[in-house]
Symmetry: C3
Subunit: 352 residues, 3 copies
């Protein structure tokens, strides 16, 4: 993996190698504190995300490197009129690795076409967020030794949650993972995830309540349910308590279950369980910093990159997803991919 845009191509060997480096860093951080001396990370946040931004910055600094960049939407309006291509060429000229967050779907792939250094995507709109998924995998492995064989519950808005989709897509590659998908009927996982689970012969159960199923779980992955997602506000009021994790529900959980959450949370996890040893979400943030250190070391091994010239299809098929990066960056070569039996835009993965 030269760029970190999607985890689809990550092999199990690559994962194990990455995790192994992460473990070494956690055990002996002082051995790594000079590894990126003289290296610069460009941190380009086209929308604010303090947590993700600081995690990557801390990772680079703990390796002895340094950071330039911008962190808020003000500054992105500055570069208004400048193409993503020109900004990326600039950033990859000044820096040795580029971390980018961008609200447009497919922006990370687009950036990689023009960068002379590795791109690490820190999220491209509602599309992908690979370093969050690596953080989740790291935390589970750290707590349990292995991911194989776990019963994992996902709770909340499973329809719109990008982190949930990415994590499910990664977990299907492991052995015997059982999925408990806990959400209101209006907010179940999308069809493509359901298809993926079937293709990999995973056991999965779609249910509406957390309480009955909590005793079987090894990992409970909580996410936020936003009021705005509900057509009927009364439905929201009726349901929200069902998906809030509190002391009462925790009494029925296994002694070694771990609770994860991508953070920031609002009120879907009650503060009263923060001191419960099963609350894993703060440790998850810590793991995120260390796996990002491993990731930075990994991509920097590949050194300067000569971007490949991508030939546009003869009869380009244009993407109609209004949130796709190709809608605003008109110079991008139209590229397609295959997902199941459908032709999709290679940038945003939406059907064409």
């Amino acid at each position: 993996m030269r760029h970190i845009i999607s985890l689809d191509e990550m092999t199990m060997d690559e994962w194990h190698s990455l995790y192994s480096v992460c473990e070494q860093i956690m055990a002996h951080p002082e051995d790594f504190s000079d590894r990126c001396r003289t290296k610069i990370m460009a941190s380009l946040f086209y929308e604010p995300s303090t947590r993700t931004n600081l995690s990557h910055q801390a990772a680079m600094l703990r390796l002895g490197g340094s950071v330039i960049g911008f962190s808020d939407p003000q500054v992105s309006s500055v570069s208004k009129g400048e193409t993503l291509k020109d900004t990326i060429i600039m950033a990859s000229t000044y820096a040795d690795v580029v971390v980018m967050r961008n609200p447009k779907e497919g922006a990370a792939l687009a950036a990689s076409l023009y960068s002379s250094v590795p791109i690490i995507s820190a999220g491209d709109g509602g599309h992908l967020h690979p370093t969050q998924t690596l953080t989740d995998l790291t935390t589970i492995t750290r707590y349990r030794g292995s991911i194989d064989g776990i019963n994992i519950g996902f709770c909340g808005d499973l329809k719109n949650g990008r982190t949930v989709h990415s994590l499910i897509s990664a977990l299907v590659k492991f052995e015997n993972v059982n999925f408990y998908l806990i959400s209101p009927r209006e907010l179940t996982i999308p069809d493509f995830e359901r298809r993926l689970l079937k293709e990999h012969n995973c056991k999965f159960f779609e249910i509406t309540g957390l309480d009955p199923i909590i005793p079987v779980l090894d990992v409970l992955y909580m996410t936020r349910i936003q009021r705005e997602r509900f057509v009927d506000p009364l439905e929201y009021e009726r349901l929200k308590g069902v998906y809030i994790l509190d002391k009462g529900k925790m009494t029925r959980a296994k002694k070694d279950m771990i609770v994860l959450h991508p953070l920031p949370r609002v009120d879907e996890i009650s503060g009263e369980i923060d001191d419960d040893p099963r609350a894993g979400y703060f440790e998850q943030a810590r793991c995120g910093m260390f796996i990002r250190m491993a990731l930075i070391l990994h991509v920097l091994e590949s050194g300067r990159i000569r971007p490949e010239k991508l030939a546009a299809k003869e009869q380009p098929q244009l993407c109609h997803n209004s949130r796709c990066i190709t809608q605003t960056e008109k110079y991008l070569p139209p590229m397609t991919g295959i997902n199941g039996d459908k032709t999709v835009c290679a940038y945003c993965d939406k059907e064409i």
Copy 2:
């Protein structure tokens, strides 16, 4: 002192030890340029304060450390919906020391309850600003060798000036300090400061004019008078000249008097005296950077911290100060303290 939130508990020994390190740094900065190599400071500014922010950052960088964080109100709106607790747990996960400025009174104490690394308060609303006070003490000591026995004048708005209150509270611990409190009758020091001065048997004089008293002063601490503080605008126009320091007033001052100001100033010190050797306010800014270096070294000695669990009172007494951090962060355990014969909120020190 593990966290730097208030200077109330600072002993004279701790002060002398801190100042001694500061002097060593000023004499041989090169001996300290690697002392925080591999250490990270998180600089969390929930309201902008360029001067204080850059001073802390420069201090950390001159020790060989590095800095992450945010510096403007935009970004704090980003973390809207996230509790201070969760933000502090994140920051103390990524960093080795946290510097925080927050507009809510008591926010620094609140942060310290959840941080696994030392918190240095860079100001919590109108409440406390300990590193400014340390800066002031350092500058006086630097110029005069000692604080004991000085005649210090405070001039301007003594009712609302946080830096004035903090400095008075610190100075009463020294020997034979005489206080000249120069302000309009509407803007004299609050009762609790007057009580404190009496308790410590300090000589203090409350006067309305600067001109008559300037010849006896060793130190003149200027502060801003804001027009908005006056009920009667005419009163403001009539008085403002009285509290502006200019060449004329300086001719009557001692040859070795020093003029201090927390900066930024507006027009309360005329630019014409900037070249007067008695103008100490720029040197004060320099001292501020060096004492912050000493402070960072001091708190980093204590290493990782396990936050103490604070038991809430059985019958919690809630604080009614609308600017207190407990008003917005509802999960904070109610805690009280004693100030004289009054029960006060432990966060903001206001009477309950």
Copy 3:
């Protein structure tokens, strides 16, 4: 050159020495990666300019130094009420070199009056932008070995383009440079540039079309034409194509011509020529970082500076340029200079 405010006083010897260091850095960057260890740059951007800001930051970091500062207009509003003088004294207290961008003309000279460390101007309004000009000279020298004897074309808005004026003013010092000034009649170079070209006996040609002249050029410097500059919108529509560089025009250019642009571009250079080896504008950005490294090393040699006291003229002549720094910073000593037979403001170079 102690401060970098204007290139007017730069001698050819200084230029060659600077370029020579730049070449050494490009050849052996690792030899320089520790040269500014323990040094701090203050980066004060009173208006946003991501590209220029990141270039200077990357330069300092690649020398092993570190950076503090602010990068957006929000924060400059913070220091509202504080004079430029006080901000500069603060920044030069904390840092070893100050890089400043400010929308007011003459702000860089004003800053240098009060700074105890070298000031590098990163642009003062529409006035001067010396590091951009050094970047341009570096790129031409890098591609061609020398600047003497080139045929250089400037294309676009030559009336308002600050980078064009600065570069012309620098190029007249070299031998046998021929100037092709390509612009609409409404947007030709200002009189003072025309006078300068004549004074130095330079050959220059003012023309309206790019296409006919492109075959003779060694260097083509493109700039943006803004629609707002045209009195008649129809005129803009009619002309804009003339000044857009595309594949068609490039076929008529020399095989070793180089295309430069200060960036960011909008559409004045078609993306289709980005892969043409004659497209030099991305390499130009790279050269900018390296010459700034050389510049930082150069100014840091001079160490701490004691600002000279500048005596104000007995009968000060006030500048009436509304964009001049003296309009807002009233304490600045009025200073004048001579330009040809005219008396000009020493800050903004406008006639008094």
